[in-house]
């Protein structure tokens, strides 16, 4: 199917997201500064979680359940690693599959609900999972979590060094980005139609529930990957890493950056992780400043930073093309045939 102009634009912008991401690979190469490593890890993990939010937003659904799916993926990987399976690829596959499998029946239940109910239920699901973690100490270590998670290995290499962890996080982010790109582009007409006018889509024959479920499952898997990267970085799986508040953060990354393209979450995550590190000295103020930022962006720039900049350029382009189209006197004279008198 030939790409329509608008999806070409989105694709182009999404490619920018990849382009911005690629240089991150230089971080572990060019420096050994732990501060930068920590920042990079935070940003990359936050990005993957934000991408999970983004996938759902493409269908006009807001999901607070990202930390819950992160927890499922992270804990699954932790348990497997402690059981002796430290192969990186295996753990990545597991951390994607576990939440995806949970999302399948859960999605069947909650995706039928109206958008607003869906939001509330995902919020409640997150709380449920926190409680479940505390109530199943044999599996999850309860309030202590699972500590001493062994480092990840690949082809005999131990990737538990500071650099190794960054490389793992980079790989996770890269894979998650590719998955997001693939899904949001392959099914862009479907997702966009669900986002904009579901009834119309169904009247034309689209089984919207299938695509909603698909999106939900993929988003859960992507979140699981983020959970794995987080657990790997901390070497611990603990309930406090997956609180509702962190869910709010990831939503903010996606919305502040802009929910229309993948570049949005990239920009949003980068900006907000950097600024929260800036404000970390004023730790107690950070939540409030975050809240203020959310309000400002959502009221003044609803399409987020990326979306607003897009609109700005579009408006400029339109103004330029209009002035170029205005006919001058000489044009009018030469283009109009002279009536009465001719061959």
């Amino acid at each position: 199917m030939k790409m329509q102009p608008r999806s070409r634009n989105v694709f182009f912008t999404d490619m920018w997201a990849l382009a911005l991401l690629a240089p991150m690979i230089l971080v572990p190469i060019l420096t050994t500064n732990q501060y930068y490593y920590s920042l990079a890890n935070q940003a990359l993990i936050g990005l993957v979680a934000a991408l999970s939010v983004y996938i759902m937003l493409r269908m006009d659904l807001l999901s607070f359940a990202v930390p819950a799916f992160m927890a499922i993926g992270g804990y699954a990987a932790a348990i497997a690693a402690k059981g002796g399976n430290t192969n990186l690829l295996l753990l990545m596959a597991l951390s994607f599959a576990a939440p995806a499998l949970v999302a399948l029946p859960l999605g069947a239940l909650v995706l039928r609900l109206k958008g607003v109910y869906f939001v509330l239920v995902t919020f409640v699901f997150n709380e449920i999972l926190q409680l479940a973690l505390f109530e199943t100490p044999k599996l999850s270590g309860g309030s202590n979590g699972i500590s001493g998670v062994p480092s990840v290995t690949l082809l005999g290499m131990d990737l538990g060094t500071n650099q190794g962890v960054v490389y793992v996080t980079l790989l996770v982010a890269f894979v998650a980005t590719l998955i997001t790109l693939a899904v949001t582009h392959r099914y862009r007409p479907e997702f966009a139609s669900i986002e904009e006018n579901e009834t119309l889509a169904e009247s034309l024959g689209l089984a919207t529930w299938r695509y909603r479920t698909f999106g939900f499952v993929v988003a859960a898997g992507v979140a699981g990957l983020a959970g794995f990267a987080l657990v790997n970085m901390l070497m611990t799986a603990h309930p406090s890493s997956f609180s509702s508040f962190s869910g709010i953060n990831y939503i903010a990354y996606a919305i502040v950056g802009g929910r229309g393209t993948m570049l949005g979450p990239v920009v949003g995550t980068g900006l907000l992780v950097w600024s929260s590190n800036l404000f970390s000295s004023k730790g107690e103020y950070s939540a409030g400043l975050f809240g203020l930022l959310i309000i400002v962006v959502v009221t003044a720039a609803p399409s987020g930073l990326v979306g607003t900049i897009h609109q700005f350029f579009k408006a400029i382009r339109r103004r330029l093309s209009v002035s170029a189209d205005l006919p001058t006197n000489s044009d009018a004279a030469t283009s109009q045939p002279i009536k009465g008198g001719g061959p």
Partner: protein, 255 residues
């Protein structure tokens, strides 16, 4: 593209849309009761009636947006009663909407592409849409967002999108509503095209009596949820009880 098993669509060409004993009630409110109709491939059936007679709800029930309280709907020998909207659409019974209904932020071309993509028809079939796009004045707007188009063009786009799904039966909900008089001939052209090129059966719910007279050899008159009369327009519209039903309505409007 995701390959999901398609609903079993009857391959028999001479497949009729049949409605039997269809009723719909919302709690205590009976919207319509014991409606029966039949639409053959390539046929046209007009459904008219004063406001509140249940015409739009009838379409909502047949296409699957609402489930009936009683009765059956069949496509050939396949029963589609109570099946959801997208399944009914996949079985070839496609509706249009009374209000303009398009993907407003997408351009005209994208709207039509999505209609083709979401439906189960033959991707290579030439539906003659280009000719219609030209005639309806939509061709020059292929790259324009459909939400920016004037009402009439959006309405026609909606109809073309329904056509793009290669339906067996079209349920048109007041297609002429909101159209200027000079635009209404497009409806004639559209219906003629659907019948001749696709062999579509067309059910038209309408208020425009001239259009009904022009296009429909058979009509059904609905009043207060029941079939008041059926037959050829010239004959039916001359009947006392039909005129009374409409007079009653216009009396109310005068108040």
């Amino acid at each position: 593209m995701m390959r999901w098993p398609k609903e079993q669509v009857p391959s028999d060409a001479a497949v009729t849309l049949r409605v039997e004993g269809l009723s719909k009630r919302f709690g205590g409110l009976q919207v319509f009761d014991d409606i029966a109709l039949e639409l053959e491939p390539g046929g046209i059936l007009g459904v008219i009636g004063p406001n509140g007679a249940g015409k739009t709800t009838l379409i909502n029930v047949i296409c699957g947006m609402l489930s009936p309280s009683a009765g059956r709907i069949l496509v050939g020998s396949q029963e589609i009663t109570g099946k959801p909207l997208h399944v009914v659409s996949g079985m070839g019974v496609v509706r249009s909407f009374q209000q303009t209904n398009t993907f407003r932020s997408a351009c005209v071309g994208e709207n039509l592409a999505r209609a083709a993509r979401f439906s189960v028809g033959d991707a290579e079939a030439d539906l003659g849409l280009d000719t219609l796009l030209e005639e309806f004045g939509l061709r020059q707007h292929l790259e324009d967002p459909s939400g920016d188009l004037p009402y009439g063009l959006q309405k026609m786009l909606g109809l073309l999108m329904a056509l793009a799904t290669q339906p067996r039966f079209l349920l048109l909900d007041e297609p002429a509503a909101g159209l200027e008089v000079r635009e209404r001939v497009h409806i004639d052209r559209f219906v003629q095209h659907a019948r001749s090129v696709l062999g579509c059966g067309v059910l038209i719910v309408e208020h425009d009596m001239e259009l009904i007279r022009r296009l429909c050899p058979r009509i059904l008159v609905l009043e207060a949820g029941r079939v008041l009369a059926s037959g050829a327009p010239a004959e039916v519209l001359a009947r006392r009880e039909v005129i009374d039903a409409y007079m009653g309505e216009s009396e109310e409007e005068k108040c």
